[in-house]
Symmetry: C2
DNA sequence: CGCTGCTTTGAAGCCCTTCAAACCAGGTGG
DNA sequence: CCACCTGGTTTGAAGGGCTTCAAAGCAGCG
């Protein structure tokens, strides 16, 4: 059940059989959410974290004028809110963008892990730091990259992250979200995202249609985005 | 020496005398950096974390065309790179924007803490999650707030963060950085930041001159920025 | 007292937004 | 089986916020 999560962790560090078992034991109830369901609201008190088994989840913040900024996307194998273990309530909301299957991991069990499995605790700590690294890369996109590069960059990021858990190839991957969702990730209007997607298609780099990203030219796409996967910390030997 | 750091932690959770001592014991060499010194370069291997005693530090990423995005500012009492403990090398660089005094904390000592002081370890984990929360708020600013709100927002944030360690009042605080630095935080050009500062001054909200932020109307400033300090997790009772 | 780094101002232009409307596909009910 | 509805996509036209380019102003310092 938590196999994709283990794939993700093991792409970054060694996880012993004992630690794997501790994680498996921590997994609780499996829940299905429909697309478009907000299941954690900012500020709400939390006693368990959400491990995503399947689907796409977004962390987002709403502004008073109805605008929304998605601060990170999550894919299968990610904890959507491991940080709620130390924060206890979140500064953002969390929603399923597609139908999603998740498993709840009680904070009690995570606390046990910090007390009984220090190394595994550090690996989980690492995971939340990886989320922060993704936030930073998005800050760079939002602050300094133009719409075209920004859009190319997110497609590159998801290709790598989905690839780690076996859900993407160099040719593309399923991404059943809307252009509005994408616009909320990119800090753009959906109208402009639409125009950018058209240009990416016409440049024969990538195509985003009917819930699927089809990559025509991965090298070209990465070059346009100046994508450097270092921020995803995949080089295991360095840790 | 690490008093400001303890103030910061204790604004969020209780720290026992024993834990305090463990932290004090972890502190190593004190180092002075001049303004404008990059002391950690992205990718470089690290064996200790940097606790800021005095000054302003920036985490930043450079783009190939010479543009730069600062992803977070640090003030006295902050770890500038506690996350390097689990990441081992960083996806960004770190520089002193002002003359800075720091103390190095060896990762070995942090590892001891995770093994001997699980609660303190969780508090440190919390600290890195707080950094991530700040990243998220900056993503919202960069993605959805206009230049005026964005600038107002960062002044509000720093007022709170510096206030926690006794370095800001409701009337203002020292912030000896340049408009260029500010622009690199805000994803704007320094030219436009200059115009925005003029408008904030003319609206009698805040003045930024000769290294000092003078707040004329804190309520008005917060209202313009739609500043909600919840993301700084200061409500101790909820944890 | 001139150099240097930072700030300020102006003018022109572009990237992205806003507003509006048409198009399209899939699902539902008459 | 088609008309209708709904949510999402696409396109056009106009406008604005921020950038770019350029240059002047200013303060601190050797």
């Amino acid at each position: 059940m938590i196999d994709k999560h283990l794939m993700k962790l093991r792409a970054r560090d060694d996880i012993s059989a004992e630690e794997e078992q501790a994680l498996r034991d921590a997994a609780g109830e499996v829940i299905h959410y429909p697309a478009n369901r907000t299941f954690i609201t900012a500020g709400q008190e939390l006693s368990c974290s959400t491990l995503l088994l399947d689907g796409i989840i977004a962390r987002y913040k709403d502004l008073s004028d109805g605008q929304r900024q998605i601060t990170e996307l999550h894919v299968a194998g990610d904890f959507a809110d491991l940080h709620s273990f130390t924060l206890k309530h979140l500064d953002h909301s969390v929603m399923a963008l597609t139908p999603a299957r998740i498993v709840q991991v009680p904070h009690e069990k995570l606390k046990d892990i910090t007390e009984r499995h220090p190394h595994l605790a550090r690996v989980l700590w690492f995971s939340t730091n990886l989320d922060a690294a993704i936030h930073r890369e998005w800050e760079v996109s939002l602050g300094r990259r133009n719409a075209l590069q920004r859009t190319a960059h997110i497609f590159c990021e998801l290709q790598v992250r989905l690839g780690i858990v076996g859900l993407a190839s160099e040719q593309g991957y399923a991404l059943p979200i809307t252009q509005v969702d994408l616009a909320e990730c990119l800090g753009l209007t959906s109208v402009h995202v639409n125009r950018v997607l058209k240009e990416l298609r016409e440049r024969a780099l990538v195509e985003f249609r009917s819930g699927r990203v089809t990559i025509t030219d991965l090298a070209g796409l990465r070059s346009l985005a100046e994508f450097d996967p270092a921020y995803l910390y995949l080089d295991k030997r360095r840790r």
